[in-house]
């Protein structure tokens, strides 16, 4: 297990290094002049532009800029104009000259709560539905469930979100309109505010999981070791949960690991639909103000989060499937 984790962490570090390097290149080298973008539309003064160049460190070679940036994230740094930027330093926003890290650390709990809550919802609903379908294979329930899955696979968060708010929050009053979670001061209210967004977000994902789970379970039930277990006299339910589900779980977790990136994307759309203030909202607003350092910070932060979560998923995978451990 330890060796497995070490290898995965080393791999993740390489991937993160490449992602940050490429992102940095794309954001600060590709635009003809980030300083022009930094000082906005009325920037014609040459002195001002070169002052901004110096302030952003753009008069240095690229690798030096990148190195400074990465060092800043871990140890903090002094910007070329003497401004101090404390330890996770992602630079200063173009839009309002604020340090960027507090902006992100303000916002990410919303996105993470959505992603975790949404994943929990679609894993429970999707896997549950798939298992029931496999259990009831060929019966009415199976057919109804597969039609629902097909429909669920074809709706969009930005369509059913407003409909769900209008129905469940405005008309029936069963659920709260979505709002930003504040876990420390109001945990119950935060939970209430997340139920509807998480459920809506889960719809586009669980259909896939129920289909996959169904076919995996059906496949597992046809395996020899299942037949042996049944022949030895074990109960069909026991075999279903302890043998077949465990066999299917490894594949489900693999699919989940692949989906992590889209879960994050789904969280962004959900935020916009429910008017929540998470990282997606931050990134979209930064588009309008052409705030490159902020965009890049959100990008690097989220990519790192996804890579780290992927390691966690892989570790879970190794725990469930003993064949993986030695690989």
């Amino acid at each position: 297990m330890f060796r497995f984790l070490t290898r995965r962490v080393l791999g993740a570090i390489v991937i993160l290094f490449l992602i940050t390097a490429v992102t940095y290149f794309l954001f600060f080298v590709l635009p003809s002049d980030p300083a022009q973008l930094a000082c906005g539309k009325n920037c014609s003064n040459k002195d001002l532009v070169s002052a901004i160049h110096h302030r952003m460190g753009l008069d240095q070679p690229v690798y030096q800029q990148y190195f400074d940036y990465i060092r800043g994230i871990f140890f903090g740094r002094n910007m070329p104009d003497g401004q101090n930027c404390a330890a996770p330093c992602f630079g200063f926003s173009f839009a309002n000259d604020q340090p960027i890290w507090p902006l992100i650390s303000d916002r990410y709990p919303t996105t993470f709560s959505l992603a975790v809550g949404g994943s929990a919802a679609f894993l429970v609903i999707g896997v549950g539905l798939g298992m029931l379908s496999a259990w009831q294979q060929g019966k009415t329930f199976d057919r109804v469930a597969s039609s629902i899955s097909l429909l669920g696979n074809s709706v969009q968060i930005y369509f059913i979100g407003p409909l769900a708010i209008a129905l469940f929050a405005d008309n029936l009053g069963w659920l709260d309109h979505g709002h930003d979670p504040t876990w420390t001061s109001d945990p119950i209210g935060s939970l209430n505010g997340l139920v509807l967004p998480c459920l809506v977000m889960s719809v586009i994902f669980w259909s896939n999981y129920s289909r996959q789970t169904r076919s995996l379970m059906v496949e597992q039930m046809a395996e020899d070791h299942i037949r042996t277990a049944r022949a030895k006299g074990m109960g069909s339910k026991y075999v279903f949960y302890r043998y077949a589900l465990r066999g299917a779980a490894a594949s489900i977790i693999t699919i989940f690991g692949i989906d992590l990136g889209s879960v994050f994307g789904g969280a962004i759309i959900t935020e916009a639909t429910f008017g929540l203030h998470g990282l997606g909202n931050l990134a979209v607003n930064a588009v309008f103000s052409l705030d490159l350092p902020l965009e890049m910070a959100v990008m690097i932060f989220s990519a790192s989060a996804i890579v780290i979560f992927n390691i966690v998923v892989d570790a879970a995978y190794a725990l469930i499937d003993p064949r993986i451990r030695l690989a």
């Binding site: 429909l151 074809s154 709706v155 969009q156 708010i165 979209v284 588009v287």
Partner: protein
């Protein structure tokens, strides 16, 4: 049983068949035993699939609407840019349609848009046209790139395979939705100088380029996996021994075996790109108003859902039908082309 007279009349091909196969149509005197190409077989299987045919008709309907939108809207009599709500006084002071059900009437079949007061039917047709057009270009470019990438990767193998594989893994590790959002200002600033007016083609082009950039890897992987097994097969070996060049083997031996994958993947990828494009426009970083766009209609709908929910249904249900039809069609095409895979 094939009667000798028929066999001789039909030429040598039939006599090669082993005699006495039970149930061959040859016994009834129909010369149907003559070989069918795999394409004909697939078409026969597809024709028997009722869901597939229905979905194909729906999909064709959407494509026709997208191509003929200007003509249909002209026949319909309204257009997608006139602000009927303001010109004809159909909106109240809050910008909502006065008439019930979102202002549905005999002149405005699907009602009028809140706030700007454009005709929803015309808007939807043009929105479908624009979103589908962008997605179609992304799909074609991604498929071509992915297939070429996978072919080269799988066929050359070895170190090339390894490095190209790591490259596509790396591209896959970017969070795509966020990448589109975060990178769009940079991409736009490449084409538009500070303070300049943006040309009409910049947005669609940037949308296409960004989605393509992170969109080709999945098909590339599929093609690679198939090529890896195909290139060990006897017919490829035979071609190699007879002195065919790599390019000829890729073109004449490998590519024809990949058509089913390519076709199925394109029908499955197109709706994904359509919804992704609509999602970006919905977030406000794709197409911009007043361009008619599927995603922008959801943006308007999400703003006004509490007062004018009718408006939301037209783009929403159209999109659900569109995605369902494409997904089912993709499944049917797969079943028709490859009867071995049972779902």
């Amino acid at each position: 049983m094939t009667s000798p007279s028929q066999a001789s009349a039909d030429g040598g091909s039939l006599t090669l068949e082993p005699e006495g196969i039970p149930g061959t149509p040859g016994g009834k005197g129909t010369p149907d035993l003559a070989g069918r190409t795999p394409r004909q077989l697939a078409w026969l299987r597809f024709k028997r699939d009722k869901t597939g045919i229905a979905c194909a008709i729906v999909v064709a309907g959407f494509l026709i609407v997208a191509v003929l939108a200007p003509l249909i809207v002209k026949l319909y009599g309204q257009n997608a840019y006139d602000l009927y709500g303001q010109d004809d006084g159909l909106l109240n002071s809050y910008g909502l349609p006065i008439a019930p059900n979102g202002g549905i009437s005999s002149t405005h079949w699907f009602g009028i848009e809140p706030q700007l007061g454009r005709d929803v039917f015309a808007l939807l047709l043009y929105g479908i046209r624009n979103s589908l057009g962008i997605a179609a270009v992304v799909t074609i470019v991604s498929i071509v790139t992915g297939v070429l990438f996978g072919l080269v990767q799988g066929y050359l193998g070895g170190k090339t395979d390894y490095f190209m594989g790591r490259f596509s893994d790396f591209m896959l590790s970017f969070p795509s939705q966020l990448f589109y959002i975060a990178f769009s200002p940079v991409a736009i600033s490449l084409f538009v100088g500070v303070g300049d007016q943006e040309s009409w083609w910049v947005r669609p082009f940037v949308l296409i380029a960004l989605q393509f950039l992170l969109g080709w890897m999945s098909i590339g992987r599929l093609v690679r996996a198939q090529v890896l097994s195909l290139r060990e097969r006897e017919f490829v070996e035979a071609a190699r021994i007879s002195g065919a060049s790599s390019w000829r083997i890729i073109r004449k031996e490998l590519l024809p075996n990949l058509w089913s994958t390519i076709l199925v993947q394109s029908t499955l990828m197109l709706p994904v790109f359509v919804t992704a494009e609509a999602g970006l426009s919905f977030l406000g970083v794709g197409m911009l108003p007043p361009t008619p766009d599927w995603g922008l209609m959801f943006q308007t709908g999400a703003t006004f859902y509490s007062n004018d929910i009718t408006f939301m249904f037209f783009p929403g249900i159209a999109m659900v039908i569109f995605v369902v039809a494409f997904n089912l069609l993709g499944d049917s095409v797969r079943d028709a082309l490859d009867p071995k895979t049972l779902r």
